[in-house]
């Protein structure tokens, strides 16, 4: 009898640690953030219910709309990163001496970490004489140096370049694995049908790695919507001149941890949840269509 009860309990005992950690660190925060979003809360005093006030405030908050807009603009990263990663994967998908060295090299930005890379980028884009300004002057594109990082219209594109530079190596590996699964005879058939080099990739490689493309599109667009590190590091935690580089997660962080508006930050978090949820549903739809 005792043994029987024990064997009945077994699956739950295996699951218990995970469920406990999940409840405390994921489910509870989800419920709490929903509750806080209807309160005014500064952490020191207990939360005071204010109804929909935080959400009404969102509607009239120019910085929130700017942040939302910036997060969506950031999605431009996704198609660019996919195109570059596929191009690089195609270039690497051949047997040439030393090819594995290149493969390893392109992967280094993936593991270096955003702070170190952000510091390097601040050097590169320095306004009083970084190498990017030097290059542009030398090419004759500009005639006086640009103060990139304090120029409101440049901060977001520079952050996006950093995201792309950091991420290409990662997605390249995914595409490389997918390319290596395409049977060689498909390429032979394409060659017999008179496809040239580029047509071959367009008609065989791209359709062959379509599942990987969908997957990368989802992963990279979700992380683009939630970008924080690049903005934080490149603007020295200011969000840029006139909040020009502020994104949803950056504004959430600023409201919660710089301005102690926890209730208001929670309302931003709820908007973030709805947006990422919609993206995930969209993603499931896309994946389903793929399987048809």
């Amino acid at each position: 009898m005792n043994a029987r009860i024990r064997s009945r309990l077994t699956p739950y005992l295996f699951l218990a640690p995970a469920l406990i950690f999940m409840s405390v660190f994921t489910l509870y925060p989800l419920l709490a953030v929903g509750y806080y979003s209807f309160t005014e809360y500064d952490i020191l005093r207990p939360p005071a219910p204010v109804g929909l006030a935080n959400y009404q405030r969102l509607l009239n908050d120019g910085v929130f709309w700017l942040s939302l807009r910036n997060s969506f603009v950031y999605l431009i990263v996704t198609p660019v990163i996919i195109a570059l990663a596929i191009g690089l994967a195609i270039a690497l998908n051949r047997t040439l001496p030393g090819i594995s060295v290149f493969r390893a090299l392109y992967y280094i930005p993936v593991i270096t970490g955003s702070v170190a890379i952000g510091i390097a980028w601040q050097f590169l884009f320095n306004g009083s004489g970084g190498p990017i300004n030097g290059l542009l002057l030398w090419l004759g594109v500009i005639d006086k140096p640009i103060v990139f990082l304090t120029e409101p219209s440049y901060i977001l594109p520079i952050a996006m370049l950093m995201t792309i530079w950091m991420g290409v190596g990662y997605y390249m590996v995914v595409f490389l694995a997918a390319l290596q699964n395409i049977p060689e005879d498909l390429y032979d058939a394409a060659r017999i049908d008179g496809c040239n080099h580029w047509q071959k990739h367009w008609h065989v490689s791209i359709p062959g790695i379509r599942p990987a493309i969908v997957f990368v599109a989802v992963i990279s667009s979700l992380s683009a919507l939630k970008v924080f590190d690049e903005i934080y590091v490149l603007t020295n935690a200011t969000g840029g001149v006139l909040n020009s580089g502020s994104t949803m997660v950056f504004y959430l962080w600023k409201q919660a941890f710089r301005l102690q508006n926890v209730g208001y930050a929670s309302a931003i978090a709820m908007v973030l949840l709805v947006i990422t949820l919609s993206f995930s549903i969209l993603n499931v739809r896309l994946l389903e269509r793929r399987e048809d």
Binding site: P29, G113, A120, F228
Partner: protein
């Protein structure tokens, strides 16, 4: 497979193949320059002496009076090695706890039938779409008011023990373990914990490595949450320490560059020696 089929065509293509190889090397070379340049700039800046201009137009590419002094000064003024040890401690503890908890939870989901299984499965699935950033606000309040572990390294470990992602990754791997193997062990009277530890877990080692590498790199590079939790400099992790180093040495960019290089070196060394695991681990996690 294909090479043996058409030797004549291959022979004809030989000069063209050489030309295309050169073309590909050029593409790969340009991509390499773009990849390496930011690191090159950090190194050349870190090696510059007091007489060399950090920023100038046209830029000064190489130091005229190269020196290792900048590295020595950073090393003396900031205990970068301590940041490194803190990061290592956090990453190791997170990996051990996370993988143990995930490997346990995945077992009944893959190999047992019990009431509530579907419910638990779908709850786990649902947590995958909760953005981590959303949990930071209540997580902060929990850390400060309930657990009171803010400003300790544990605050970086416990919130990252649960990962639905790793549970699903391992569940998928477990499903490939033959049921006969498990049933045979059950008939022999082995307990479930023993079956798990001695039969199931050892057979999914590649997936464990995948999950571990992904968890370790994520922990190693985390910035937002650690910078919320840590206030005492002695327990800073590398990203947090590096971020404050910028402020400390803002008068001399050579020192910032030197500190950044010191901070990058450990992960680069790890990458050189375990490249295979890094690449397959991180990309395997995407596919899983």
């Amino acid at each position: 497979m294909v090479t043996a089929v058409k030797p004549r065509a291959d022979a004809k293509r030989a000069p063209k193949a050489l030309g295309s190889a050169i073309g590909w090397y050029m593409v790969l070379g340009i991509a390499s320059i773009i990849t390496v340049f930011p690191f090159f700039w950090l190194v050349t800046t870190a090696l510059k002496g007091p007489g060399d201009a950090v920023f100038s137009l046209p830029p000064q590419w190489l130091p005229n009076e190269p020196t290792l002094n900048n590295f020595a000064r950073v090393w003396q003024q900031i205990a970068v090695w301590r940041f490194f040890l803190n990061s290592l401690f956090v990453a190791l503890c997170t990996v051990v706890l996370n993988i143990t908890v995930s490997a346990l939870a995945a077992y009944p989901l893959a190999k047992m039938h019990f009431p509530g299984r579907e419910l638990i499965f779908y709850s786990l699935l649902a947590t995958l779409i909760v953005p981590l950033e959303l949990t930071y606000v209540p997580g902060y309040i929990l850390a400060v008011q309930v657990f009171r572990y803010d400003d300790t390294l544990w605050s970086l470990i416990f919130p990252n023990v649960f990962s639905a992602f790793n549970i699903f990754l391992l569940r998928q791997a477990y499903q490939a373990v033959p049921n006969d193997l498990i049933d045979a062990a059950r008939i022999d009277g082995a307990g479930e914990l023993r079956i798990w530890a001695q039969i199931v877990v050892p057979t999914v080692r590649p997936s464990l490595v995948t999950a571990a590498v992904f968890t370790a790199v994520t922990s190693w590079n985390a910035l937002l949450w650690p910078s919320l939790m840590l206030r005492t400099r002695e327990i800073y992790t590398l990203p947090v320490g590096l971020n404050t180093l910028r402020g400390m040495f803002s008068a001399d960019f050579r020192l910032i560059a030197a500190g950044t290089i010191i901070a990058i070196i450990p992960i680069l060394i790890a990458f050189v020696f375990a490249q295979r695991y890094f690449v397959s681990g991180l990309s395997g996690a995407v596919k899983g």
